[in-house]
């Protein structure tokens, strides 16, 4: 890791030998991150509302702004104006600290998420490891929230959350490791650059196991974000609202923002690890500075990169929402079963398989592109096949089936 001194000085262009310089450095980057997290929150909450509405034959918010786009902003302002309620028997200090801790763990993650080749706040050598580490801070914030609320439902939610987050960290980490093995680096920048070129150079198509690795990562990341079907910690029909039952106003808004921020982070990681990061998959566009030239070229290239990674991340967020509004919630023991009996062994096997593949196939020159093309074709074919399979299932749905005719024996 370039230590933060080096990093800060490279950012600021001078060496911060004073506290003032350090604070300045923090301000220079903290403000845009905060703004970005808020915008991500606003957009994804609006998306959630609209997607859920359209899935459910509704229209969703329509009044504030075009198609209700400013509804979330209005809600945020309303939440700001709410009374700050703390339950009488709550542990006041921890109660106040918990949302901050949860938000901080998300917020810090944004520091290493790259937006393009140049636009990354801290390009750490251990980028992935850093994300996994700060992500695990969230669990403790949630436990703090649940315990300090002095409400049994909150505590149930907190314990569920901690169980879930701690357990799913393992398959999540193992699937990250598989990518690290392929890329040979933990730096998000290096990983992305290893996927430059055409679409089939993306890690998703790098070898036959990467799809499975991605699926495990995606499932585990749903659990890490506490998204349906893993929304047990806040299961509203069982635990009222889980660990944030007692929170209202701005503290609740911070939890909410952190949740959507975390969704963006896991999606962005998935994009960087599997979907070519800021690369569009078309070499001409990715290296447009070569044809435009000068500062304009660099700016355009970086803008395309940033746009690409944000769009890809939001597409994955949409998939998360799609899943949320389709599937019921699973139960605590089933959640643990899924993690320990299926995801964990599979991710271990996949790690070994990916390592072996890398050891034997990796050195072959140009093999990656060929493999990628084959895998891309296979992916497209299997998606089409799955679509047809899904069609067949709905045709055989229970309605068309013969109803059991029961003779009334009475």
């Amino acid at each position: 890791m370039e230590s933060y001194f080096t990093f800060v000085s490279s950012v600021l262009g001078f060496e911060p030998t004073s506290l003032l310089g350090f604070v300045g450095a923090i301000a220079v980057w903290a403000v845009p991150i905060t703004a970005f997290v808020s915008v991500v929150g606003l957009v994804s909450i609006w998306l959630e509302r609209k997607i859920s509405a359209h899935i459910q034959c509704r229209v969703g918010p329509m009044e504030v702004g075009p198609h209700g786009a400013l509804q979330t902003l209005a809600d945020g302002i309303k939440l700001l104006g709410k009374e700050d309620l703390v339950p009488a028997q709550a542990d006041r200090i921890l109660f106040g600290l918990a949302p901050m801790l949860v938000f901080a763990s998300t917020f810090v993650g944004f520091a290493v998420i790259p937006f393009s080749q140049k636009a990354v706040i801290a390009d750490l050598n251990l980028g992935i490891f850093f994300l996994a580490a700060v992500g695990s801070l969230e669990a403790i914030g949630v436990v703090m929230a649940g315990w300090s609320s002095n409400n049994k439902w909150s505590l149930f939610g907190a314990i569920r959350a901690a169980t879930q987050v701690v357990s799913y960290e393992i398959p999540l980490g193992l699937s990250l490791l598989a990518v690290v093995v392929v890329a040979g680096s933990m730096s998000l920048n290096d990983i992305t650059q290893a996927q430059s070129g055409w679409v089939w150079n993306w890690f998703l198509f790098r070898n036959p196991f990467m799809w499975a690795v991605f699926l495990i990562y995606f499932i585990a990341s749903l659990a890490e974000c506490k998204r349906a079907p893993f929304d047990l910690p806040e299961a509203e029909s069982e635990l009222v609202s889980g660990f944030h039952t007692e929170y209202s106003g701005m503290r609740f808004a911070i939890f909410f923002l952190a949740e959507y921020g975390a969704m963006y982070i896991v999606s962005a990681i998935a994009v960087v690890l599997f979907f070519g990061g800021w690369y569009t998959g078309i070499p001409f566009l990715d290296h447009i500075s070569g044809s435009i030239g000068g500062t304009t070229g660099v700016v355009v290239e970086n803008l395309i990169g940033a746009g690409t990674i944000i769009v890809k991340s939001f597409l994955l967020i949409c998939v998360q929402m799609w899943i949320r509004w389709t599937l019921p919630r699973i139960r605590l023991d089933q959640m643990m079963d899924l993690c320990l009996k299926y995801l964990l062994p599979f991710s271990l096997v996949l790690l070994v398989a990916v390592s072996l593949w890398q050891a034997f196939q990796g050195p072959i020159d140009g093999g990656n592109s060929v493999m990628g093309m084959i895998m891309l074709a296979a992916t497209v074919a299997s998606l089409i096949w799955m679509r047809r399979l899904a069609g067949r299932v709905s045709k055989a749905s229970a309605l068309r089936r013969e109803l059991p005719v029961v003779k009334t024996g009475l």
């Binding site: 921890l94 490891f129 580490a133 669990a139 901690a162 933990m186």
Partner: protein
């Protein structure tokens, strides 16, 4: 080249580097005192969070990036959460330390603390520390220090060492952990004969 390596000895006390160090040290010590004086077990566990974060910060400050992050990942994300878990799941309603600690216990604790402190200071003094500044000197070839200087981080060097020079201890520790895991699973296992435990 990091800022840490640039400060001259005389400016040390006033430099930005020092401010960070003292801040981190305070972040480690204050919660540690909090753990000792706190009466509520859950508060102790949350104080521990501060200490662990401070230690992680110190590691990072000493350019040990991998170690620092592992500290966060394992100790905060894993062990501290499990600790809280254990307290919340096993303790009954009042989560306070019930019986007042007896005098002899305090005395022996202080004694033990002094012994440990003396031992630690002794060993710190006796150890020959390789600093980053030393690593730049041509005579010393400490690979990890070089990696730090080159901005490559310590992970790669650590990995190389663990899988070459220190492979035996590494494997022994792995097997030990495996044994612990199997043992824990065995103890926690529900007795199939006796129904749910």
């Amino acid at each position: 080249m990091s800022a840490a390596g640039r400060g001259r000895e005389g400016e040390w006390a006033l430099s930005f580097h020092a401010i960070i160090f003292w801040a981190l040290a305070a972040m480690t010590i204050v919660p540690a005192i909090g753990i000792v004086v706190s009466k509520n077990i859950v508060h102790m566990a949350f104080w521990l969070l501060g200490t662990l974060l401070g230690v992680a910060g110190l590691y990072l400050h000493m350019e040990a990036d991998f170690l620092g992050m592992t500290q966060v990942f394992v100790y905060i994300g894993g062990i501290n959460v499990l600790l809280l878990f254990g307290i919340m799941l096993t303790n009954r309603e009042p989560l306070y330390v019930r019986a007042a600690v007896k005098r002899p216990a305090i005395a022996s604790a202080v004694l033990l603390g002094v012994v440990v402190a003396v031992g630690l200071i002794q060993s710190f003094g006796a150890t020959e520390w390789h600093t980053v500044k030393d690593a730049v000197a041509p005579g010393l070839a400490d690979a990890s220090a070089k990696a730090v200087v080159n901005g490559d981080g310590t992970a790669a060097t650590l990995g190389t060492y663990l899988l070459s020079d220190y492979i035996l201890p590494f494997e022994i520790v792995s097997i030990l952990l495996l044994v612990v895991l199997v043992g824990a699973a065995y103890i926690a296992r529900r007795d199939p004969e006796g129904g749910s435990a």
